[in-house]
Point group: C2
Chain length 462, copies 2
């Protein structure tokens, strides 16, 4: 008898009264002296199969007392139940315990807080909520790859350990093999990094963009999708110390083309999840975030708004609303401004373009007005910034001037400047914080609840 999965039972058109064999974990068990009802889950889908064991079964006494999460094998009869809430049940004939569990299993049926579940992050994927979240995370990651690969983007694994610093995007973690209790010192009594593993100070990457651009010059369309790090003492629901970023970069492309790719990518991922995670989205819509599916369909079907920073400033100044941080041209927009624009004014994802050059990174391409850069951020309702992108300054002389103007150390960017010295190619790129995208798609409101084992100040367990 071929073993089937629970998903097989739901998706393969099995004949009524056919014989089936299953192996799975007891999700719930209830019953009476004469009958036990077991929800059997084997991980193949969110749903469980209802297995019925009756008193005349030789293992009835033992099975009916099993703790949740015990593993059993079941041979029995698949019976369609057109009048019941579930479409079928399995009448267990041969039911055997193959893996123990314990009665103090922490995931009993009642609702538990997300805070508590974070303390048992090794068990929480077994709950319906986190099963849904992490399956969607996986599907979204694949959809990212599929969209970009099918559009001829080349995946580049830029280095995680780095001796350079992308524009000082954030505080960095140091990577070392020096013995902290026996550090080598130089003649000035400072730590001698030349004795370290890489013979220099190294850190965890905050962005793969700069090394990635070397590949843009060769492959035209490239992307990274890997972990990045921020050593910031930040405790907000939107910041983690370790998170994944998607960074596409495109040669021969200007800002409008870049926004087309970002919008196309987001819509593709959302549509992919809508199609492949129907049960999971339905569960989240019903139990976590009412209206979730409707929101996702809206996002997938409407053009994103596009407005310049300068026009957005006017809209905010004219708004019939008091902001905590006063609005004037040149400010770095705060969450309250961003949310007002995408939630109140446009009511959908919104690209803001052409930001003041002084509040943006050195590598963004100067516009001809001398005041702004060709940058575009995408703001989405409920989350805020989800995409940050720009044209990259490809003019060797302008880039050189900006490296000096921004007070950077030119020697650290020698190879980056050589990408222009040996061939100026206009190009544009953007970054998506993958966890923010997963938050948007799942409706989860804390980044710690969309990362398998989140890292935050003071916590790196598991």
């Amino acid at each position: 008898m071929k073993q089937l999965t629970v998903k097989d039972l739901f998706t393969k058109d099995l004949e009524d009264n056919s014989t089936v064999a299953l192996e799975g974990s007891i999700k719930t068990i209830r019953g009476s002296k004469n009958i036990s009802f077991i929800e059997l889950n084997d991980g193949s889908c969110l749903k469980s199969a209802q297995v019925i064991v009756k008193k005349n079964n030789e293992n009835f006494e033992a099975i009916s007392k099993l703790p949740i999460a015990s593993t059993i094998t079941v041979e029995g009869t698949f019976v369609k139940t057109p009048d019941a809430p579930q479409p079928f049940e399995v009448h267990g004939e041969k039911v055997e315990l193959v893996g123990h569990s314990n009665s103090d299993y922490p995931l009993q049926k009642k609702k538990q807080s997300y805070e508590y579940l974070r303390t048992i992050a090794h068990l929480r994927p077994r709950t319906n909520t986190f099963y849904s979240v992490f399956r969607i995370r996986s599907l979204a990651a694949f959809a990212v790859h599929e969209y970009l690969q099918h559009n001829d983007f080349v995946y580049v694994n830029t280095p995680i350990i780095t001796s350079s610093d992308t524009e000082g995007a954030g505080e960095m973690f140091r990577v070392t093999t020096l013995d902290p209790n026996n550090l080598p010192k130089d003649e000035n009594g400072k730590v001698d990094n030349s004795k370290d593993f890489f013979k220099t100070e190294t850190n965890l990457t905050v962005s793969g963009q700069l090394p990635e651009e070397a590949f843009t010059m060769a492959f035209r369309n490239v992307y990274t999708f890997g972990p990045t790090f921020r050593a910031e003492n930040s405790h907000t629901p939107r910041h983690a110390s370790e998170f994944w970023m998607i960074e596409p970069d495109m040669a021969y492309t200007r800002l409008p083309g870049m926004m087309d790719v970002a919008e196309g990518l987001l819509k593709y991922v959302i549509n992919y999840v809508l199609e492949h995670a129907k049960d999971e989205l339905a569960f989240l819509d019903e139990n976590v975030k009412p209206g979730l599916i409707e929101k996702l369909k809206n996002t997938a079907n409407k053009d994103f708004a596009r407005v310049t920073y300068t026009d957005a400033i006017k809209i905010l100044q004219d708004a019939d609303k008091e902001f905590k941080v006063p609005v004037k041209w040149g400010i770095d927009l705060q969450s309250e401004h961003e949310r007002y624009l995408c939630e109140e004014v446009y009511k959908r994802p919104t690209f803001l373009t052409d930001y003041p050059r002084d509040i943006k990174a050195f590598y963004m391409r100067d516009n001809d007005d001398g005041k702004t850069v060709a940058a575009a951020d995408c703001l989405v309702p409920g989350i805020g910034e989800i995409v940050g992108g720009s044209e990259r300054e490809e003019r060797e002389d302008v880039l050189n001037d900006k490296i000096h103007e921004f007070g950077l150390t030119p020697e650290e960017y020698d190879w980056y400047q050589e990408l222009r010295k040996y061939g100026e190619i206009k190009h544009s790129g953007f970054g998506i914080g993958f966890e923010r995208l997963v938050m948007y798609i799942t409706g989860m409101e804390n980044i710690r609840d969309v990362i398998p084992f989140p890292r935050e100040p003071g916590s790196a367990k598991f």
Copy 2:
């Protein structure tokens, strides 16, 4: 006029004498007083388009002197050339310089050593060899995702920064934000790790397997695909300090099923590259590794060999060959043994199974003979071990005993043991060193040449 890519010219069935617009980089330029021949590459494919500029063109003098890697736009006529080696040429009518380069461009046409090219890792993707290698790397990565996702595996991003140590698989890099010139000390004068960012000592992961198993319990079939690290002072062509690993793990699966998935995955990836990187493989077959395509087709079409460690020992002992390390039951097989088995005896990828328990990790499942574990490594000709896998010990009591027997600290594995305490589920998994797979597929012999910016002792540039 819509701009086309070079790939469009090769793949879209354009009409003879149609008008085209291109933008690209000069790969080579040669000619005479009256005519210039430009190989124009825009990254869209390995091949370049031949652009012809004649003396009557208003920019002829300027264009014909341009250094390699200059960016130009071309408007001209697409002309089929059935009698020439290349299928078409573009007669450039309007040709303009849009991005400078310099005459000391380091990638002139002659062959350069891989050692030299590693020093200009930011430019080497522009060579035909590295273009081919890194496009294949990207396609192989996608094929891994596609195979596993289409077989219902859930992608899990296990943590990079970790406070635990998978079985002491290798030396680790420490991650810290403490100021090395001003370290906080405890009462014994040792560094006080409780003052560090995560309030404990943390390292870069050597494997995602243990945290991943938490997800196996929920999702049945899972995989990781991310960077892993070894702080080993190793200078061999097969070791890097930072590399990517693929680690599938499958519930309700024993060793034969695990080998089926590993074999299926390797063959799928090879077939995917054979289909999607024809030009690149042809280039590598001709210029880097003669016989490459034939080897890959063989691998994709033949069943892998499977033999127990114990039988393999007998084969080696009976071999008409002197080994440097004498063969007896219980030894950790050396490269010379592994290569003899897969290159001389089986002449194809070969699974070795059921290794002595004492030379394998604590989490591998004990066989009933008391001497061996249900482990399987796959050896491939020319590379050696490419897959290492096993059944995972799911029995709580046996696992507990092995943690003690192997001298590990039980407290560090409390959550890992709880995965069994709350539901013993048999499962199996394996790891593939992604770079070794890329080496096998591309024929490159040094791991530094299949990693965009390799990290090795003493070097973390870019």
